[in-house]
């Protein structure tokens, strides 16, 4: 019935780059050999033209593997060329942006399957309205305008009725008293005001402050970029929220079902004499058998939940344990759509079909949790040590309870993180901060899932499937095998244990097998130290255009500009003046701490004022003494080794630092490397405390490095940079191999996100001492006397 009815027909599929659309195209190609032609409505995207999208986004999908296997690569290409055609259609434009040729094609269609949609529940309001609602309306208008009268199969969702209870009939939507045109306008026009709102001084200031707090030391451009990113996110979040609130207000759980419901209204209102069928699938999940068991694309609704369960992220979940969870395998939906497409309504009254399992093969929430428990007990996910993760046992509290719990925990964690990030402890709190951020992520994700999907587990309705079943009755036995769409045909245990859960795990690329390779042997023999950076150095050995650039303070030496200053000043003044000097320094401490957090450059500028009026020659001498007394004592032996490795490999080595020439140049001289550091202006034979050029911090550091590279013909993409703080970010970003050495909390996070190497270098133990000269030493006494 189905293959025959569709044989010789030309069909148009919208949304063919999506999961469902692709599945429909595949099934048609494979199971309806007589089909005349399948037109794929594809819009050229900014990156690729429509034809290329067909190749890259549709035909290369695993969905076609089975066909390719049956026909061979060549046979498949031939088939695709014979049957498939691209029609450039842009549902975002009135008239669909059709060319004359496109219009011609449209007119030639016998069936139009509209499966294009923005299916995420948390899409911004305007996107959902445009794609789901206006897209459908525009399609119908365009069909009418072209004069064609194809059978239009509109794929909707079972949840268009909002949060109903009891039996939901297969009927055109009740009129909720809403005007879809008006709703579309409201939602579409939301973006303007939200964008505007995002630029309001108080919002922008707040975002800027946040960006500053996160990226401050990395320099103005980095802060600006972050601010803009935050603003974009803020706008998106606001639009999502506005959409959700709007949908909730209209009695819907989310923007998706709301816009889909409006779309049904629009289609029903506009279709005129175009035969219209509406297919309402419930929650579509991986295919049971076709094209292969477990065919799924993109993470949809249940997958994040299932993984969260397996990873024990979601320790509990809200919902009614006996609520029906209406899940339907994708291939059943495809078959339903094709069966509907093959059976156009005889009159102008639209027909509605529920592709849902609830009435024929009910699945309850508790069952899913139990199945997941069984599955993940047998095939547990693994943590990063390769250990099996236990599964939670859900108690199903109410959504309110659980959300409150999660929110409280989140707040506590955020507060702790705030404190930790502000402690002036540098690399020492990195681990703690990373842990907190992981915990926050976990809570955030959990809360999100609860907010998004919680409502679906409280739905207390059954979707009527009488229309679908009457199609099923009509289907001859032979075709029933080829196009199964009766949900009673399969068993949920089989579906979950053998099809769906394995698919979800496979797609998440989570480890379930114990780690490959050997088990730990238990050998305590020392293992050879391996560093990927060292092997990178070896690979680029002998290349003069490779540069290794090192920050100094905190990266090569455990000091900062303050300690040097203290040491040099104390060295030059008699013991009895020390206390008053120290008291002066302490008083200024808090201000410096604050400046340091805001911007490294500002801090350095402010601190170097302390040098005002000092004798440059004396200070230079003291700087040389500080080399032995401070620098070499606090040096990281591993850093020295690394520099020598670079030199042995023939690389250029550059120390790029905001520290003063007084203290860095002696070290650079000893190391025999180039140095770029801060210089103080000298006037009338005295230091002024003003810098000759802006301190090389933040973006200035990046600019310096670029300038150096172009002057010396350095290949930055092959080069190395070592630094410890966020203010070095622009420098690290420029090179091919950035290494975060003893990163502070913020840089550590950044390095983790970007996959940079993180190394921890330590001072040789037993060398830390206060940056104070020994007041008993005759050398000191003599120096003071002089």
């Amino acid at each position: 019935m189905i293959a025959d009815a569709l044989g010789g027909k030309t069909i148009l599929v919208t949304g063919s780059t999506g999961f469902l659309g692709k599945s429909i195209v595949e099934k048609c190609l494979r199971s309806i050999p007589d089909i005349a032609r399948i037109n794929l409505a594809i819009r050229s995207s900014a990156r690729r033209p429509a034809a290329e999208r067909l190749e890259r986004e549709v035909l290369s999908s695993p969905a076609f593997k089975r066909l390719k296997g049956d026909l061979g690569e060549e046979g498949f290409t031939k088939l695709a060329r014979a049957k498939l055609d691209v029609v450039e259609i842009d549902l975002g434009r009135d008239g669909l942006g059709l060319t004359d040729q496109g219009r011609e094609r449209l007119r030639a269609c016998d069936v139009v399957i509209h499966s294009a949609a923005a299916v995420e529940f948390d899409n911004p309001a305007d996107l959902s309205a445009q794609t789901n609602l206006m897209g459908a309306a525009r399609l119908v208008e365009a069909l009418k305008a072209s004069g064609a009268r194809p059978h239009l199969v509109h794929v909707s969702t079972a949840y268009v009725g909002g949060m109903l209870r009891g039996l939901v009939r297969e009927e055109p939507p009740l009129d909720p008293g809403l005007n879809w045109r008006h709703e579309a306008e409201v939602l579409t026009n939301l973006r303007g005001p939200v964008e505007e709102e995002s630029r309001r001084p108080e919002i922008l200031t707040r975002l800027r402050r946040e960006a500053r707090s996160r990226m401050g030391p990395a320099g103005t451009p980095a802060v600006a970029r972050t601010t803009e990113r935050l603003r974009d996110r803020w706008v998106k979040e606001r639009l999502i929220e506005r959409g959700r609130v709007h949908a909730n207000a209209m009695g819907f759980s989310d923007i998706y079902s709301f816009t889909k419901a409006m779309a049904e209204q629009a289609v029903v209102e506009l279709h005129g004499d175009i035969p219209l069928s509406i297919v309402r699938p419930s929650i579509i999940e991986s295919a049971l058998d076709e094209p292969f068991g477990g065919w799924l694309e993109g993470f949809r609704m249940a997958e994040p939940l299932i993984l969260a369960f397996g990873r024990n992220i979601l320790r509990d979940f809200s919902g009614l344990p006996d609520a029906l969870l209406d899940i339907i395998p994708a291939d059943f939906v495809v078959n339903t759509v094709l069966a509907v497409a093959a059976n156009p309504p005889p009159d102008a009254r639209p027909r509605v079909y529920h592709a849902a399992s609830g009435s024929r093969n009910p699945l309850r929430l508790r069952r899913v949790a139990d199945e997941a428990g069984t599955y993940f007990t047998e095939h547990p996910l693994r943590d990063r040590y390769g250990q099996a993760i236990g599964t939670p046992s859900w108690t199903f509290p109410t959504r309110q309870e659980i959300a409150t719990r999660a929110r409280t925990a989140l707040r506590v964690v955020e507060a702790a993180q705030w404190v930790v990030e502000r402690l002036p402890l540098g690399a020492n709190v990195t681990q703690l901060s990373d842990d907190l951020s992981a915990e926050r992520d976990r809570l955030d994700r959990g809360l999100n899932l609860i907010q998004l999907y919680g409502v679906y587990t409280e739905v207390d309705c059954i979707f009527d499937t009488r229309n679908v079943m009457s199609l099923w009755e009509k289907t001859p036995a032979a075709e029933r095998k080829k196009f199964p769409f009766d949900p009673a045909l399969y068993d949920w245990s089989h579906y979950f244990q053998n099809v769906h859960f394995p698919t979800v795990v496979r797609m998440s690329r989570a480890e379930t097998a114990a780690r490959r390779g050997k088990q730990p042997s238990g050998s305590t023999a020392p293992k050879a130290e391996s560093s990927s950076v060292r092997s990178a150095i070896e690979r680029r050995s002998g290349r003069g255009d490779v540069l290794a650039v090192f920050d100094v303070d905190g990266t090569l030496v455990e000091t900062n500009v303050v300690e040097y200053y203290l040491w040099m000043r104390l060295r030059a003044q008699p013991l009895e003046e020390w206390p008053s000097f120290m008291a002066r320094m302490l008083r200024k401490g808090p201000r410096w701490l604050y400046l340091e957090r805001r911007s490294r450059a500002e801090f350095q500028r402010s601190f170097y004022r302390e040098y005002d009026g000092l004798d440059p020659e004396v200070m230079r001498g003291l700087g040389r003494e500080a080399l032995d007394a401070v620098t070499l004592r606090r040096i990281y032996p591993e850093g020295m080794r690394r520099i020598r490795e670079h030199k042995r490999a023939g690389h250029r080595v550059l120390l790029l630092t905001g520290a003063l020439d007084l203290v860095v140049e002696p070290l650079a001289e000893l190391l025999d490397v180039e140095v770029d550091c801060a210089h103080l202006l000298v006037r009338d034979g005295r230091l002024t405390g003003d810098l000759q050029s802006p301190p090389p911090a933040g973006e200035a550091r990046g600019a310096l490095l670029e300038e150096y590279a172009s002057r010396n013909g350095v290949a930055l993409a092959e080069s190395f940079a070592y630094a410890d703080s966020l203010s070095d970010l622009p420098m690290l970003e420029l090179v091919g191999t950035p290494v975060a050495v003893n990163p502070d909390a913020r840089l550590s996070q950044m390095a983790g996100q970007r996959g940079w190497r993180i190394e921890r270098w330590r001072m040789a133990p037993g060398n830390w001492r206060l940056p104070m000269p020994d007041p008993r030493s005759p050398e000191y006494l003599e120096a003071v006397r002089r």
Binding site: P526, L627, D628, R633, R634, P637, M640, A764, G766
Partner: protein, 526 residues
């Protein structure tokens, strides 16, 4: 008349014996029947050192009186031993100061203007100004520093000259100033028989090129021990080099020796035998023990390193190197030799806080090995107190601690070389040149206060003989990870160490405890 050294047997009435334990001390009960070897008491020092010095200069051995060697307008150089001697540093005035002041006065009288004073530190670290000042005294320092009083630099290509090759093919280099001088006066302080003689010039004013001729695993394994020059391949080699130097430059050697009065009055109990402890010593011991048990290492180090030894000069000789050195060795022997009958299965040793290479610095693990298995083990004549294959037990906390300024190359040696192999010969093959020629270590040696890049290797091979001789080596109370990195065993208490030793030497081993420092040399009967 000071008592000679003694060997006593532990019986029921023997008090527990002192073990040095880094910057700390332990009192341990030795098993019954074990023997304890005590050093001789300090010899009476010479009452008037200045007069003795004058006398020695006026009547040198096998050489003309110094005065007759001095001529107006001559180019003269004084070289002196660096601060690795004596240990602990001597309370001011240092004997070297006394000798140098005398020599300089004579030179001034003779009208010599071109006089340089060079610290003969070989591949040791440059001393700080304070340290140089302590050795030469305020007067010399202010007069000559920095232009005419400076430190030898073995990596200064300009200022080291190649002298030639010995009959055995050992290359010899010498400080250029010394090589070009009309007269070189070497002012030495000999604390142990290893020092002095031809070794002074041939290592102190040399470079890696000439020092590697004898500072290598093969030579050291053939030196049994290097504390007894006639049996030491190291010294044979130094003598050959020294003779070549003598043929090139006119050298006038002045050698001094001091007694073994190593500890000041506050630490008198360390100097004395436990049986002699007075109530005052007991109290000092208790106080020191309490303090060192609870204080952080850095603080203890400051206290211990501030100690200055009240050494007294016991001899001074001047003249031709060999003649002088014979007399010197005789004087040293008189102070430190203790006759010991036969070897034992186990030898116990306390490793103190100080060795020649960690003045004002922590004794890092490699230096602990150098001190315990190198110097202390090698204080013997004829044969070691420990029988071949016996167990050596040492006490030292062996913390993972390095002085970043003085011992940068030690850190890399520990982290990289010892993680790879511990065999001195293999290390020498793989790493000698790399460490010796590392440009960074070379810079630190020349410009900062770091030991030469190769120095950790020398410290390590100093113990080669002990590592080869002992069947097992156990550290008591040490950091376990460190001891394992060094390739030895670790015990928590001395009793545990004895238990562990049973596996090697059986149930009832013979035991000797060498109660040192003060320094002594076990003269084991053949």
């Amino acid at each position: 008349m000071p008592r000679p050294g003694a060997v006593i047997e532990v019986d029921r009435n023997t008090p527990p014996v002192l073990f040095h334990f880094g910057e700390g001390i332990r009192l341990e009960k030795m098993p019954l029947g074990a023997r304890i070897v005590y050093p001789p008491d300090p010899l009476e020092p010479i009452a008037h050192p200045e007069r003795a010095i004058k006398r020695a200069l006026a009547k040198p051995l096998e050489d003309d009186p110094l005065k007759s060697l001095l001529r107006r307008g001559m180019k003269m150089t004084i070289a002196f031993d660096d601060l690795s001697l004596p240990l602990p540093p001597m309370a001011a005035p240092d004997v070297r100061q006394l000798v140098m002041e005398e020599v300089i006065d004579m030179a001034a009288e003779a009208g010599i203007d071109d006089l340089h004073i060079i610290a003969a530190l070989g591949l040791h670290r440059r001393m700080t100004e304070d340290e140089v000042r302590h050795i030469v005294g305020e007067r010399i320092f202010t007069t000559f520093h920095p232009d005419r009083l400076y430190q030898h630099d073995g990596e200064d290509l300009e200022n080291n000259v190649y002298v030639g090759k010995t009959a055995q093919g050992e290359e010899v280099t010498l400080n250029r100033r010394a090589a070009e001088s009309d007269l070189v006066i070497y002012v030495n302080l000999t604390l142990v028989p290893m020092d002095g003689g031809h070794k002074s010039m041939s290592t102190g004013l040399a470079s890696f090129r000439s020092i590697r001729a004898h500072h290598n695993a093969k030579t050291l394994l053939a030196s049994r021990s290097y504390m007894n020059p006639p049996d030491s391949a190291l010294h044979q080699s130094c003598i050959r080099q020294g003779q070549l130097i003598e043929d090139t430059v006119r050298v006038f050697h002045i050698e001094t020796t001091v007694n073994n009065h190593a500890f000041p009055a506050v630490a008198n109990f360390m100097q004395k035998r436990e049986t002699d402890w007075t109530p005052q010593d007991q109290a000092m011991f208790l106080a020191t023990k309490q303090m060192t048990d609870i204080m952080p290492p850095a603080f203890k180090r400051n206290v211990f390193h501030a100690m200055r030894a009240p050494y007294g000069m016991t001899a001074v000789h001047a003249g031709q190197v060999d003649a002088v050195h014979d007399k010197t060795l005789e004087a040293v022997r008189k102070q430190i030799n203790v006759p010991v009958e036969g070897q034992t299965d186990i030898v116990t040793l306390g490793v103190p806080y100080l060795g020649p290479y960690n003045i004002n610095a922590p004794m890092n693990p490699i230096l602990v090995v150098c001190m315990g298995l190198g110097y202390l083990f090698n204080f013997y004549r004829n044969k070691p107190v420990l029988r071949k294959g016996g167990v050596l037990i040492l006490t030292h906390p062996c913390r993972y601690e390095f002085d970043a300024v003085q011992h940068p190359s030690y850190i890399d040696y520990y982290d990289e070389v010892l993680a790879d192999t511990k065999d001195p010969i293999e290390i020498e093959k793989k790493y000698e040149i790399r460490f010796a020629e590392d440009p960074w270590f070379r810079q630190l040696y020349r410009k900062s206060h770091a030991y030469h890049g190769i120095h950790p290797h020398y410290a390590w091979i100093w113990a080669a003989h002990a590592m080869e001789h002992a069947g097992d080596i156990i550290f008591v109370g040490a950091d376990r990870d460190v001891v394992h990195r060094l390739g030895f065993k670790c015990a928590t208490t001395l009793d545990d160490a004895f238990e562990m030793a049973e596996q090697t030497v059986g149930r009832y081993p013979s035991v000797t405890h060498l109660r040192t420092p003060p320094i002594m040399l076990a003269d084991v009967e053949a």
